[in-house]
Symmetry: C2
Subunit: 374 residues, 2 copies
């Protein structure tokens, strides 16, 4: 494993248990029946443990939406043409996608990253990282938002992994390192909580293959319809994933091997972001199935990273529940969503903010003069 | 049934199916895989049908937190002293309760109503309805908020329903009418979506009794620990509820009889609010178990009111799931919450707002120049 990844992983510590116990005592003294806010209370306590702050403030919220193309689309694993990846990047930058709407709703900014789109993305200059101080864009509706674009392109999409490795081992390392850089760049601007997101036609195929390698579950049971395959399309996708695994034989004890052989550039980038966030004590809200596959890679590189993960929701993509169980994460929401981009992550960030507000803004029985239970 | 209730009920119409179909077509053209936002899409479509607006805007959000005392607390059905009801009303008015924190988080204002607290509530003048134009209060933290207080007291708490009816039939009608008035007063100030909430030591006992009458399920299976009873306390509560039902024998075909015999003033008030909101085409986000009991009464007065209800979450209180199944509502969230006050309602309102933003702010495939599926 390369130095930058190793250094990041070495900085990941355990949660602050003493502060978490103090948070629990504080929660128990607030004017409500003991434990009556359920998972919101658990979440507040976890965020105290993650951040190492007694009274965390989740003001700077960032969604990272990483985009890349997948050579395996040659095998007909998606009904959408691969051009949609780049088209959606432009949609993200002009503020018209679901992630933009939900990020605005929860007060998060969106960092769109080209990790390996199969064409050159030309961002409008006002969104471009070349002008980092002025990265506000405007949505078509005229609503102000703070998007920005980063170019971290590793290659013009992965190779067709049904015929060999998706990328070289070097590219896999590079994609994780790019993710670390992305988080570090944002860290210096200030960030309190992040959400993961992605876009890449064909990427549920890569996520399914990764899930099969690490969890050892049957491909038939963890492969879903992605953006909307019919029965025949799903059957073809399952066969292709089986072929991908046979052709590449990834080593589950070597997460970078798995990423290189059956992964994607956006998945590697997200794994890097997750590890770097954990090393910086920043809560990471994991979105759906593809983000989950990135979390699997991060978790198998360093299991301690799990403590910094918050599972926003459980996707309709059937492999997602298998990932969450494997890592040991319990999703907050179950709203039949399967869009990706970071959309579930936004809703999770919103609940996280609600939870710390409960911890830090509620009155205690004593301060409010409310009688305690007999 | 009295005239005001009848008139309100007569104004409840069916959902606007034509607009809902148009909303579905619009959702299907947005830049995302078909149906991939799951329950958010269903919710947006429902809100279009409820409001009769093609592009609903949920700007004015209101939580109604109704408080009242329960004579049945004499039977030891709660470990908290009944004084807590009034103490919590003051906590609501000074902004230190969970409902204040979560309402601020989602941008809702809280209307606190004394429906039948067992002592005289003296609101600070700046919060009092006597000065309706200046109803901003400040939380202890200094955060600005827009609370207001209404006095609709029917009596100083209900009578002990283990020995006879909780209230007279006239009082039951009055409490529903008061709820209608509360909604109408707010309607004239502007309100786009509401959440129900309550406070009343002992009110899970009333809610359990109401649930038993309408759903005919066993008391043992629908009674929970409320604010935190132990096993012995729970067993006592179950016995008391059985006694309450035997002593009063409420008529399930006469919802006002049920409310009078085994209900509470805050429950009647919420039933009135729900009916009035439905008559005004305002989406009503139903909070937890006690709000659910109020929804049961509203539903049995006029089944069409169901179409206007959005179930925010499923409470830990076991009777709540039984209510939701009986009415036919599917909760959005399941976060192990059991606090009441309208806390779950706040989170539900937030999802409702997210859903209409998706409908009204996202780009279409055409407008964004994104290719559609093959």
């Amino acid at each position: 494993m390369k130095d930058k990844i190793k250094e990041t992983v070495n900085n990941i510590t355990s949660l602050d248990n003493i502060l978490m116990q103090a948070a629990q005592r504080r929660l128990d003294n607030l004017t409500k029946p003991l434990g009556s806010l359920g998972r919101l209370e658990e979440l507040a306590k976890l965020i105290v443990g993650i951040t190492g702050q007694e009274s965390p403030v989740l003001k700077n919220k960032v969604i990272f939406t990483l985009a890349a193309d997948h050579g395996v689309t040659e095998e007909g694993v998606s009904f959408y043409p691969k051009e949609v990846t780049a088209q959606m990047v432009y949609n993200f930058l002009s503020g018209g996608a679901a992630i933009n709407v939900l990020a605005r709703h929860v007060g998060a900014r969106v960092i769109v990253v080209d990790m390996g789109v199969a064409s050159t993305v030309i961002a409008r200059s006002e969104c471009d990282e070349a002008i980092p101080k002025k990265h506000d864009c405007f949505a078509p509706s005229g609503l102000a938002m703070t998007n920005s674009f980063k170019n971290k392109k590793i290659a013009l999409g992965t190779k067709n992994m049904a015929r060999g490795a998706a990328m070289s081992r070097e590219e896999a390392v590079k994609s994780i390192e790019a993710g670390i850089d992305i988080l570090e760049e944002e860290f210096s601007r200030g960030v309190d909580i992040i959400g993961t997101g992605e876009m890449g036609i064909g990427n549920t195929t890569a996520a399914s293959a990764i899930t099969a390698v690490f969890t050892k579950k049957l491909v038939d049971n963890l492969t879903g319809r992605g953006a909307g395959l019919d029965n025949q399309g799903l059957q073809n996708k399952i066969e292709i994933i089986k072929k991908v695994l046979k052709v590449n034989n990834p080593n589950p004890n070597d997460p970078i091997d798995v990423l290189a052989k059956v992964g994607g550039f956006e998945i590697g980038g997200l794994a890097g972001i997750i590890l770097a966030a954990a090393s910086r004590k920043i809560p990471v809200v994991i979105d759906g199935f593809i983000s989950g596959a990135a979390a699997l890679i991060a978790y198998h590189i360093e299991p301690k990273s799990k403590d910094y993960m918050i599972a926003a929701h459980c996707s309709v993509e059937r492999g997602h529940r298998i990932i969450l169980e494997h890592i040991g994460l319990k999703p907050l929401l179950d709203l039949n969503m399967r869009l990706g981009e970071g959309t579930g992550g936004c809703l999770g960030i919103n609940l996280a903010e609600a939870s710390v507000n409960i911890l830090t803004q509620m009155a205690t029985f004593k301060s409010a003069g409310v009688s305690e239970r007999k």
